[in-house]
């Protein structure tokens, strides 16, 4: 097991290098550039060749792109430094770290809500296949898939405000002061983000459950004289949920994308908001920093999912060699 984990970790390195190059390059390909924006936003600067050169030199943008890359990556590797924001001159690493908890809470609550809602409904749908309850459950799943979360989010913010003059809380109270108020802020956005994940999870759970219930070992369990409840919980559920774990791993990039939208709508000071700001300002260090962090995070959650899959499914555990 240990050598397997080591090998998997080692295999992550080339992926990371490749990802960092793409992140670094792609940002520079998109049209518009930071120098233009800096000049436009500053009343004292004129858009002359000279001024441009000066700004580019200050920001280090005048060097060839591969030199820029090497500088950037070695700062990260040796000093853990993602550079400074071009616009605000703050440390990108510090900004990300201070905003991370918000995004983390939003994302994890969304996944938690998705599972808590979807797994029971999926199991119910499979057990009572083609009944009214199954149809209702599946209709909700399709709705959840079809409704974009930016629309649902906007409605949830605006509608209560219009109707009752109430809107979901958005002011962050530090967790240490009042954990309940802190989490309360995340409930509506996490539910909205969770709803779209719940749809996929529910369908997956239902399909897997139906598949597993057809298996011969379920017949064996019934032939042992187990109550149907025990057949489902002890023999069917575990086997049906193994693939659902992989699904959670696949959710991670999707959830991160979702947090960008929902942080904006609910005005939560998370990494997603920072990313939006960065993109609007063509603030390369901010964007590349966040993308790199997302990349690392996705790679490692996939690794963790793969490893936990091995714990759940005994067959995988022994096929590692």
């Amino acid at each position: 097991m240990q050598s397997y984990v080591w090998r998997r970790l080692l295999a992550v390195i080339p992926t990371l290098v490749f990802a960092s190059m793409i992140v670094f390059l792609v940002i520079r390909i998109i049209p518009g550039d930071a120098v233009d924006l800096i000049i436009k936003n500053s009343p004292f600067m004129e858009n002359t060749e000279e001024v441009r050169k000066q700004i580019e030199a200050d920001l280090g943008l005048d060097k060839p792109i591969h030199i820029q890359y090497v500088q950037w990556i070695s700062n990260i590797v040796f000093r853990g430094d993602l550079g400074k924001s071009l616009m605000r001159e703050t440390s990108v690493s510090n900004e990300i770290v201070s905003r991370l908890p918000v995004t983390f809470w939003l994302g994890s609550l969304a996944i938690l809500f998705a599972l808590v809602i979807a797994v029971p409904i999926g199991v119910y749908s499979a057990l009572y296949q083609d009944t009214l309850g199954d149809h209702i459950g599946r209709s909700f799943a399709i709705l959840g898939l079809a409704i974009p979360s930016f629309w649902l989010g906007t409605i949830v913010v605006i509608l209560p405000a219009i109707l009752w003059g109430w809107s979901p809380p958005t002011r962050l109270i530090p967790f240490s002061q009042n954990p309940f108020s802190f989490i309360a802020v995340f409930i509506s956005p996490a539910l909205i983000l969770g709803a779209s994940l719940a749809a996929v999870t529910m369908r997956m759970t239902r399909t897997m459950m139906l598949e597993v219930l057809r298996q011969d070992y379920i017949r064996t369990a019934r032939a042992k004289g187990l109550r149907e409840k025990l057949v489902v919980t002890r023999h069917a559920l575990r086997n049906a949920l193994i693939p659902v774990v992989t699904l959670v791993g696949l959710f991670v990039p999707f959830v991160i994308g979702g947090t960008v939208v929902l942080e904006r709508i609910f005005d939560l000071p998370g990494v997603g908001q920072l990313l939006l700001l960065g993109v609007m300002d063509r603030d390369y260090p901010v964007i590349t920093g966040i993308f790199l962090m997302i990349g690392i995070f996705v790679i490692f959650t996939n690794l963790i999912v793969d490893l936990s899959y091995g714990l759940l499914d005994p067959k995988v555990r022994y096929q590692k060699n």
Partner: protein
């Protein structure tokens, strides 16, 4: 041998409703019994209704599409079919256990073998969970799996097909059942392993004085391991009797055809194997008269318009057939 009846099936009829709304009789008016300590075989081609008979006794026919529409199944004097689900459940896996055809898929892949073996005893509250592992271990010993102490915590994929079938047998024995139903327990296994598994099964039922219903389509297995045999065709029993009698002198043309279609070691004349001609019956459009008539070498006029019933002739052998077998 005691001749006390342990199981008495009378007029069992199990139907399946098809997609198009029609019904097929997978088991049609089947009657037979099993005495204490006896091995009774049910033979027949694929689709003849052997498994459905077994699952009806277990009361595990999936409804829908299936339903037991008539008949009685007396087990130790009580009718299984008129019991509540809860009463039937208390017997299932406890006094009657079943071993399935597919050892590769009949075990839960994500549960240890030890846990699965002792599970029947645990659900029928015969043992506490502390004793469960110990019990699984001694059952693994009983089915002659080496290193039982380590093997209890293994998972099914670490076992070969033959070993898994031994595990299934161990599982079937965990409550000391009165009746074991083995549904083609060796069909999926290598020939050499088949004999070992059947031997084990026979040995274990003999030691515990359990009765055995052995479902197979191999008449050679019947001759060797069963006391009595019932031959099924298209949901009906077409011939029954002592297995030696039937093996030596089959009276029904279908039984004879089955016999000619299997290799026999005792066959000195090196006769060619003859597969049964024609196709297995389609239960949704059975012919008028005897269901076997399109494939029968001996059919007479009566066979095409009148259904034969099971009648006992000489030497306790019964057959449902109008014709007589004559050697050419």
């Amino acid at each position: 041998m005691k001749s006390e009846l342990i199981l008495d099936v009378q007029g069992l009829t199990t139907v399946f409703r098809m997609e198009d709304g029609s019904e097929i009789k997978a088991v049609d008016d089947v009657s037979f019994n099993v005495k204490s300590g006896e091995t009774v075989a049910i033979v027949g081609e694929s689709g003849s209704g052997k498994s459905v008979t077994a699952m009806s006794i277990m009361r595990l026919i999936p409804n829908p599409p299936g339903q037991i529409v008539s008949g009685k199944i007396h087990f130790e004097g009580n009718d299984l079919l008129s019991m509540s689900e809860e009463e039937a459940r208390a017997i299932r896996g406890n006094k009657i256990s079943m071993i399935f055809q597919e050892p590769m898929t009949s075990l839960n892949p994500s549960m240890t073998v030890g846990r699965q073996i002792s599970e029947p005893a645990e659900v029928h509250s015969m043992i506490t969970s502390q004793k469960a592992s110990q019990m699984s271990q001694s059952l693994l010993d009983a089915v002659r799996i080496p290193d039982s102490a380590d093997r209890v915590s293994s998972y099914p994929h670490e076992f070969s097909g033959g070993m898994r079938q031994r595990v299934m047998i161990a599982m079937g024995m965990s409550c000391n059942p009165k009746l074991i139903i083995a549904d083609e327990p060796t069909t999926a296994l290598d020939v050499t392993v088949q004999a070992q598994v059947l031997h084990l099964l026979k040995d274990i039922t003999y030691k515990t004085n359990a009765s055995l219903i052995l479902i197979t389509h191999d008449l050679g297995v019947v001759a060797r391991y069963a006391d009595r045999v019932h031959v099924m065709y298209a949901g009906k029993i077409v011939e029954s009797g002592k297995s030696r009698d039937i093996f030596n002198s089959p009276q029904h043309p279908y039984t004879l055809a089955l016999m000619n279609s299997i290799p026999r070691l005792s066959n000195q004349k090196k006769e060619k194997l003859k597969p049964i001609r024609g196709n297995p019956p389609d239960l949704s459009k059975l012919p008028v008269g005897c269901s076997f008539n399109p494939r029968c070498d001996f059919a007479i006029k009566q066979c095409f318009h009148e259904k034969p019933t099971l009648t006992t002739n000489n030497r306790y052998q019964s057959k449902a057939c109008w014709a007589t077998i004559n050697d050419k």
